[in-house]
Structure formats: C-alpha cells, structure tokens
Amino acid sequence: MKTAFFHLMPYPDLPDDFPETHRSVWVDIDPGLYDPKVGHRAYNDYIDELEYAASVGFDAIGVNEHHSNGYGLMPSPNIIAASVSRSCPDATIIVLGDSVALYNPPLRVAEELAMLDGITGGRMVAGFPVGSPMDTIFAYGQNPSTVRERYHEGVELITKAWTSDEVFSFNGNYNKLRYVNVWPRPVQRPHPPIWIPGGGSVDTWDWCAENDLVYCYLSYFGYKAGLKTMNGFWNRVKELGKEPNPFQGGFAQFIACADTEAEAWELYREPAEYFFNTCLHVYAGYADPPGYKTPNTVRSGVEGMVERAAREATARAEASAAAKNEPKGPLSAGPNQLTFEQMVEKGYVILGDPTQVTEQVHELCTNMNIGHLMALAHFGNMSKDLVKYNTKLIGQKVLPELRNLFEDEWEDKWWPKPMSAEERQLRDLSESTIGATK
C-alpha cells in the first residue's frame, strides 16, 4: 500500500472561544482573525512538514483546495505542490485536487498540472474534486444546479487536452474554445493518474467505478464511520463486474502516534480538540444548497462528509448556547464539544504507540479495502516539533510494517509512472563550468 502525508494547512491561531463567538470557520469566517504574520509562519512550517514527511518514509505528499476556510489555507494546492516539487525529489505529489468547475477555462488546471508533471519528471497525481458546497457554491458562487455538469465537462476538456495529438476545438456548454493546445504536455502518458476525492455522493461512486478512477473518501470521521461509504463504492465496482482492486480506493485518516499510548493521549489532545471543535465549526446552513446533491444521492439518504461536520458543529453550538453558563476551560472540550476520548473511541483519530497504530491502520486498510492512505499526521494547531515526531514514528515504524499490504496480489494502476531516476533532472546549484575554465 502507499501512504501520503496529507496536509489541510489550518490556520493555527483561532481564538479559544471561536465556536461560541463566531458562526462558521468556513465561508464567512471573520477576515479580522487572520494575522498575516501567523499565516507566513504557518505556510513555512507546513511546507517544512511536507518536506520532512517525504524524507522519513512517506510515499507521497498530498495537498488539497479550500476557499474562505479557516482550516484550509490552500486556495491553490498547485502553489504548494510547486513549492515542494524540487525539494522532494523522490516523493509522489498528490494534488487532491483542483476543483475543476472553479476554473474558467479549466485548461488552467491542465496547464498547471502538466507544468508540475514536467518539473517533477512525472511524479504527479491529478485529483479532481467537485469541491465542497462551501468552496464551490458559497465561496465561489457556482450555481448548485450546474456545478456538476460544469465539473464533468471540465474533466473531459482537461483529459482531452492532455491526450490529443492535435490542436482541437472544444464546444462545450460552459467552455467554448476554438484552439485547445496545452503546452507543456504532461510527462506521464497518456496523462497523470486521476483520483477523485469524494464526500459521499453516490454518483461519484458510479463515475469512478465505471471509468476506473480512484475513489478517495476524504472523511474527517475516521475509518469506523467511513466503512459504509467505501462499501457503497466497492459495491458499485462489483456490480459492474470489475475487480475490487484496493489501489482504486483512497481514504483520509487522522493518526496520532507516540512512543507510548499514554504519551499520545497527552500530546495530541489539544490539537485534536482544536481541529474537531474549532476548525470544524462550520455553519449547517452552508452544507446543503439545493442542487448540489444529485437526485440519486438525495434518494439514497447518504449524508456528505462536510454536511455531517456542519450539522454536528451547529448542533454543538446550539447546545453550547443553551448551556452558556457552564464552565469551560480554554484547552479542554466544553460541555457540548467532542472530547478527545470520543474522537478516539469513534475512530476519528487513530491513536497509540507504533504497534497499536499499525494494527489499527491495518484494520482500516483491510476492512475498507484501501490501498492509498492519506495520513493526516498534522492536525489542528500542532507544533512543528510534534508534527515531526508523529510523522517520523509513522514513517519509520508504522509504514514499513504495512508497505507490502496488497502489493503482491494487486497491481497499483493508479500510481504515477515517472521518468527513470537517470533521466530526471535534479536540483543543481553548482558553479558554472564556463567561468571555471577561464
């Protein structure tokens, strides 16, 4: 199996009373809360963490796209991908991904990912999410009734632009282009592997299953809650008579590893509470704009991941408002907030020493049939030191125990196929030989 160090890049300094004093971390988060100096430090710490992960055993580093979001400071994942493309010369870089419907024309995505594939020598995964309703519908004003049609047209345009040997015209409903000719061309042929991050739409299961695309369930609620969604995808794969190749599945999981379990409970409590109780304080009114869900998803009753997050956060906020006189310490969960114990018990966070973490990750991957794990080893407001500690333990003590999982039985058809190491150009800051000869 393959494991990526997946980063959300949250803003680390939201106030302790944020859930009580603000409506949402997403869409209408108060611009006055953003301190550019904190942002500067966070970006550089986070890029350090990605680079560090690539140096201690992770197969890949993963980035994603959010807008107007206090827990996701990556409106452009491609910028972060570019920033590590040369400093991580061997890692796969998973952009998971670019919200295709938000680019006009989506050729910009084709071009930027082709650039990244060129810089990295073919180490890119191209992820194409529809995008959350908060990102696409509210922050970027897309019409919920057309965003999916626009998205699918965009993916069609991008893949054709990558693969066509000729300049072509594209006459879509949303994109009218007389001359499509993407320069540069991607290194990988016919194109970088395409992964589809999903949040619970049954039509996305169908689309991935029918078109042999990776379905990546980016859940914040862990492997216990995610099983139903992944089973929905695998059932569609089987119904189509296809093999349930685990490498066609991806899953995101928070992991908190320490030398001992007791230490893990102590170290990760605050950042986990910061993430689940502050960063996921999303207003429920942004979760379900009519039209974003397909009729099939409405019919199935499947609740999307961010929809669940928003519903639970709003319920907690309302309960807190009702009990506002109850005492609450600054760093421990309030009376109506999730406790760290609940997060671990429900599987939101896998916690333990390396052996315990290995067992749980193995259980996750085998139960859900997951060959691509997006490990969230940073969460909430973790210090860089703590991230490195967690990352190193996972990379060097957990992942080696799991690396062979599925590898003998299944072919990973969705992993990048880069140029050979000999062909790839590496960073070269040596002095000019011309000057030296004079």
Binding site: V27, I137, N143, G291, P295
Partner: protein, 279 residues
C-alpha cells in the same frame, strides 16, 4: 376582466372548473404540471420559490374571488420534469415563453411571485405581447448592495421556511411530509421537493440579479406590484425600487401580515387584490 373571448383555451376551459385539478402537459421536451382552480375571470399564476403544489392556498382562494386560475409550473417545480437546459436566465425565458403558448396564457393577465415574477419580467422584456398585464408578488431580480436580498439558501431548511412566509405553518403542504406517505413514495416526495428547491435556487444563484435593469425599460406591460409588510427575504424597500424602475406601474399594494410568499400567507387578500386589479 371577464375575458370569455380570450384565445386562452385553457383559461376558457378553467372558467368551467369548480375544483382544483392538475394535469401534465407536454411542452417541448418537458412535461409540465398545470394546476387549475376556481371559476370566473381567467388569470395565469406563476409560482414563487416553492412551486404550486396541490393545496397551495392561492388555488383554494381563487373561487371566492371569482378567478379561474391556471397555474403552470416551470421545469423542475412541483413535479414538472426538470430540464437539462436551465443553465442561465435565457433558458428559463424560453421555457416560460413556450409554456404560456402551450397553456394558452399568452396575451392574458399573469400573477407571478418571486422567482416566477423574475422570469415573467424577462419574458415581457423580450416579448411585449406576452401578457396583457402583470400582477407581481414580491418580484426578485433587482439588487442593491446596500440593501441586499437575503440569501434563502445559506441557511437550514427550517430557517429557510421561516424566511419565506410570516407564518411558517402556511407552507406546510410544501415543507411537511404528507401524512400516510411511507417508504419509496415518501422518498420520492422528498426528492421532488428537493428538485423544486433546486430549480428555485438555480434562478437566484448566487445573486438574484440577471441584469434585468439593462432591459427593464422594454417592459411596457402594465404592472401591479404587491409586497408583504413582513417580507424577511426581499426588504419592502424593493417595492419602491421596482416602482421606479418599471416604466408602467399602475398600482402598488402592501399586504399586511405577509412575508415573501405573499399569497401563501394571505391568499384571500391577494386574490381579492388580483380580482380588483384586472384590467
């Protein structure tokens, strides 16, 4: 107006109708739901944001006001088949233009609410003979940055319900699950309700302004404007904006104890104003 000579075939048919009826009508590639109710002067009715489900109060109020109401539902609303072609306001204009021809409402008076009024005004701008007059209930389509229309969809379903009418119970036939409906039928009812909300949202997203001000001077049709005094979605200040922007406003009315969907809160009062406004 008692227009027994109107070319409006369906309206003529409606004058003989005493109970609310529903039929499905093929219009282009779509199958449109058309409700009819009341006996009297024929008038068209184009719904607002929650369509015209059976039991919509305006249907029940038609007879007492001596109105024969013909109420087609735009694609996606109230069981009308969703159209694959509703990508922009122009698509909706073509749909409504075809619908008024198919239902015989063309050339007659139309009562139109909220998003329905928005589309009707667009049709009137490009097709001056489309309606003999427009009676508009809290139309959407204008926008003032300093006094914005509230976002009806950046909220929970229950909060949205409170935004639409002063009395949230007034919209029960839309928002509440029907008693006795179970299993797949209940699921499909929920899907249809979601489709209606989808269609309404698509008309106002992200801002209910399709640049009508660029062409509003073309709307020469006589217009009567109604606004609810408790409209929580579109501030009543928009009544003056519309009155100033439209070239041919014949009357304005403020309806007491009514929210955005005026006829859902005060169907009898609206029907009475409509009956008295017909030219």
């Amino acid at each position: 107006m008692t227009d027994t000579t109107s070319p409006n075939a369906l309206a003529a048919q409606a004058t003989t109708t005493t109970a609310s009826t529903m039929e499905r009508l093929a219009v282009g590639n779509e199958e449109i739901v058309v409700q009819s109710a009341g006996t009297g002067t024929p008038v068209g009715y184009l719904h607002g944001m929650i369509g015209t489900p059976p039991g919509a109060p305006i249907l029940a109020a038609a007879d007492a006001a001596s109105l024969a109401v013909t109420a087609p539902c735009l694609p996606g609303f109230t069981g009308s088949s969703p159209s694959a072609i509703t990508r922009n306001i122009h698509d909706w204009v073509f749909h409504l233009s075809a619908i008024i021809d198919a239902t015989g409402l063309a050339g007659g008076p139309l009562v139109a609410s909220s998003v329905g009024a928005m589309v009707a005004l667009e049709v009137a701008a490009i097709r001056p003979d489309a309606f003999s007059q427009l009676i508009l209930l809290s139309p959407l389509g204008l926008w003032d940055d300093e006094d914005p229309v509230v976002d009806a969809y950046a909220t929970t379903l229950s909060a949205q319900r409170r935004l639409l009418t002063k009395n949230p119970a007034a919209t029960g036939v839309f928002f509440d699950d029907p008693e006795g409906l179970e299993g797949d039928e209940l699921v499909e009812y929920g899907v249809a309700r979601y489709q209606t909300r989808t269609s309404a949202a698509s008309l106002v997203w992200p801002i209910p302004d399709h640049n009508l001000t660029d062409r509003i001077h073309r709307v020469t049709t006589p217009v009567t404007l109604l606004w609810g005094d408790s409209d929580a979605l579109a501030p009543i200040s928009y009544l003056d904006r519309w009155a100033a922007a439209l070239p041919n406003v014949t009357a304005t009315h403020t309806v007491a104890d009514a929210g955005h969907l005026i006829d859902w809160d005060q169907p009898a009062a609206v029907a009475e104003i409509v009956a008295g406004s017909l030219l």
